[in-house]
C-alpha cells in the first residue's frame, strides 16, 4: 500500500438539474490494473467516465492523476497528460478511409512529445497500429472508407485511436456492445496484450462474462452510487449487487 495510486477518484458527484447522476463515487486505480465498471443502465457509468475524462464538469469531488488534480480540466489537456478514452457511440469520419481516421489522434501534441518532438510518417504509423488491432493488411481493410466498415472494425478503429495516443490509462466505454461473440473473442486478446505491456485500463461493460475473464477488479454502480468494489467473483455474490441487477424484492 506504499505505492501511490495512478488514479484517485474522491467523492465525485454530478447532478443534472435535480437528478444525481453520480453521487460521491470514490475509488483508486493502480498501475497495471484492469478495472471494470458495471451496473444497470442509467447507473452513472458513462457519466463517471465523462467526469474523469473532462467531457462533463463535476459538481463536486476530485480526480487525481499521478498526484495531480485534473478535476474539470478541459478534455484535451487530460488526454495530453495520458488518459485516453473511447466512446460508446462510434462516430468515425465516414467519408475517410480507416487509416486516415487515425491521422487526427496521431496529430496530437502528446504523440509529438512522446516521439521526441517530431511526428514521423503518420500514414505508416496508422497502418501499423491498425494492423495491431486486427485490420488485416493483406485484404486492405485499412484503406476502405469508414462508411463501409462493419461495426466490429469501427470499434477496433476506436480502440486503435486510443492506443495511438500511448496513454497511461485507457478508458474503454462499452467497447463490446453491438459486437458478436466471435468479434468480442478476437478483441479480448488485444486488451490482454495491452495489459501485458503495462497499460492501465478502465472498462465499462455489460458483457460481464468476457469482462470477468480479464478484469482484476470490478466496481458496481447503482443509481449513481458505488455499491460494491472488489474481485469479480466476490462482488457478484453480494446481495446488494444481485438486488440491483435482478430488481428489488419488495
Amino acid at each position: 500500500m506504499s505505492e501511490t495510486p495512478l488514479l484517485e477518484v474522491k467523492g465525485l458527484t454530478k447532478s443534472f438539474g435535480g437528478v444525481q447522476a453520480v453521487n460521491g463515487i470514490s475509488f483508486t486505480l493502480n498501475k497495471g490494473d484492469l478495472l471494470g465498471i458495471i451496473g444497470p443502465n442509467g447507473s452513472g457509468k458513462t457519466t463517471t467516465v465523462n467526469l474523469i475524462s473532462g467531457f462533463v464538469k463535476a459538481t463536486s469531488g476530485r480526480v487525481i492523476f499521478k498526484g495531480r488534480d485534473i478535476t474539470n480540466m478541459p478534455p484535451y489537456k487530460i488526454v495530453r497528460l495520458g488518459i485516453a478514452r473511447t466512446f460508446q457511440m462510434v462516430k468515425p469520419f465516414y467519408q475517410l478511409p480507416a487509416f486516415k481516421n487515425m491521422i487526427i489522434p496521431l496529430y496530437s501534441p502528446r504523440v509529438k512529445a512522446l516521439a521526441g518532438g517530431k511526428y514521423g510518417d503518420r500514414d505508416a504509423v496508422a497502418l501499423d497500429l491498425l494492423e495491431e488491432v486486427g485490420f488485416e493488411r493483406d485484404n486492405q481493410v485499412a484503406y476502405k472508407a469508414a462508411s463501409v466498415l462493419p461495426q466490429g472494425y469501427l470499434k477496433r478503429l476506436e480502440l486503435a485511436k486510443a492506443i495511438s495516443l500511448q496513454p497511461d490509462i485507457m478508458i474503454l466505454d462499452e467497447l463490446f456492445s453491438g459486437l458478436s461473440l466471435a468479434e468480442v473473442a478476437s478483441i479480448v486478446p488485444i486488451i490482454e496484450k495491452l495489459l501485458l505491456e503495462g497499460k492501465t485500463i478502465i472498462m465499462i461493460e455489460h458483457r460481464l462474462k468476457e469482462l470477468f475473464r480479464i478484469a482484476s477488479r470490478v466496481i458496481v454502480l447503482n443509481f449513481g452510487e458505488k455499491i460494491a468494489d472488489g474481485v469479480a467473483k466476490e462482488v457478484m455474490e453480494s446481495d446488494e449487487v444481485k438486488k440491483a441487477y435482478l430488481g428489488s424484492e419488495e
Binding site: 443534472f16 465523462n50 467531457f55 462533463v56 464538469k57 466512446f87
Partner: protein, 290 residues
C-alpha cells in the same frame, strides 16, 4: 427627465421584446434560426399598407389578414424550402437568409421607399404618466406585449400543441417515438414566429414609417437580444430586452444618441466573453452534449 427616460426605456425594451420573441420562439422549438425574420416583419407592414390603401379594407381587417398571410408564408417557407435542408445548419442559415434578402430587396426594387409608406396609429391620443407625455400607440405596444407574452405562456404550458412544442424542444427523438410529427411542429414553429413578427410590425410600425432597411434593423435587434439573452429562452429575451432597452435609452439621454449602437455592440461582445451561451442560454458550451 429621469422619469421620462425610465418610461421610454421601458417602452424601448418592450419594443425589443416584441421584435425578438418570434425569432427566439422558432429557434427554441425547432432549432431553426429564421434569418428571414426581419423580412417577414416588413412584408407584413407593406401588406397591411397595401390592403389599407389599395384594396381599401378597414384597418383591423387589413392588419389581421396581413398577420395570417405572414404566418402562411412562414409555413410555406418551411414546407417547400427548409424541410429539404432540415438539420443542416449551414443550409438552413443560407436558405432563410436568401429568402429574407430576396423579399426585402424586392420591395426596395418595387420602389417602396419614402415617408408616405406609413400606417396610421390605432388611437390618436396621448396620456400623462407623472410628468411624461406618452402617446396611446406606445401604451398599446406595452399592453399588447404583456397580453402576448401571457398568451404564449398559457399556450405553451396548457395546450396540447404547446406541450408538443416543449416536447420537441427538449428531446426531438423521444418526442418522435411518442408519435409527434416533428415536421408539422417545425412548420407551426416557423409559422408562429412569422405571425409574431407580423404582430410586432402591426403595433410598432405606426410609430414611424415602413422602410426596407428596418427589416435589417429588426433582424439585428432580434439577433442581438437573442445572443445576449440566450437562444431559445423566452425569459432570456425579456431580460436581455430590458438590459439593452435601458442601456440604449440611458446612453441616448445622458451620453448622446450616436453611442447607442456602440452600447449594443459592446453589450453583445461583453456577454459573449463572460457567458457565451447568453444570460439564460440553454445551449451548453460543449459539455453534456455527448
Amino acid at each position: 427627465m429621469l422619469l421620462g427616460t425610465i418610461v421610454y426605456a421601458i417602452i424601448n425594451s418592450v419594443i425589443l421584446i416584441m421584435m425578438s420573441i418570434g425569432f427566439n420562439l422558432t429557434f427554441g422549438i425547432s432549432g431553426i434560426s429564421n434569418f428571414a425574420y426581419g423580412a417577414l416583419y416588413i412584408f407584413s407592414a407593406f401588406s397591411t399598407y397595401m390592403l389599407l390603401q389599395m384594396v381599401g379594407l378597414p384597418y383591423p381587417v387589413a392588419a389581421l389578414v396581413s398577420i395570417v398571410l405572414t404566418a402562411a408564408i412562414g409555413a410555406l417557407m418551411y414546407r417547400f424550402i427548409l424541410m429539404r435542408v432540415r438539420g443542416q445548419v449551414l443550409s438552413e442559415v443560407i436558405a432563410t437568409f436568401g429568402i429574407g434578402l430576396a423579399i426585402l430587396e424586392f420591395f426596395r426594387y418595387l420602389g417602396f421607399v419614402g415617408v408616405e409608406y406609413a400606417l396610421p396609429v390605432f388611437i390618436d391620443d396621448s396620456f400623462m404618466i407623472g410628468e411624461v407625455y406618452v402617446d396611446a400607440q406606445r401604451l398599446i405596444i406595452v399592453a399588447s406585449s404583456v397580453v402576448l407574452v401571457g398568451l404564449l405562456w398559457l399556450f405553451v404550458h396548457y395546450t396540447s400543441v404547446g406541450l408538443a412544442f416543449r416536447g420537441i424542444a427538449q428531446d426531438e427523438r423521444t418526442a418522435l417515438t411518442f408519435g409527434m410529427d416533428s415536421d408539422w411542429i417545425a412548420t407551426l414553429s416557423v409559422s408562429l414566429g412569422a405571425a409574431l413578427a407580423a404582430i410586432a410590425a402591426t403595433v410598432i410600425i405606426p410609430l414611424g414609417t415602413i422602410s426596407v432597411s428596418q427589416g435589417y434593423d429588426v433582424l439585428i435587434n432580434a439577433l442581438a437580444v437573442s445572443i445576449i439573452g440566450g437562444l431559445g429562452s423566452t425569459g432570456g429575451v425579456i431580460v436581455a430586452s430590458l438590459v439593452v432597452g435601458f442601456a440604449q435609452r440611458f446612453t441616448d439621454t445622458y451620453i448622446g444618441s450616436h453611442w447607442t449602437m456602440i452600447v449594443s455592440l459592446a453589450a453583445i461582445l461583453l456577454v459573449l466573453v463572460i457567458k457565451p451561451s447568453g444570460l439564460y442560454g440553454k445551449q451548453k458550451e460543449l459539455e453534456e452534449r455527448i
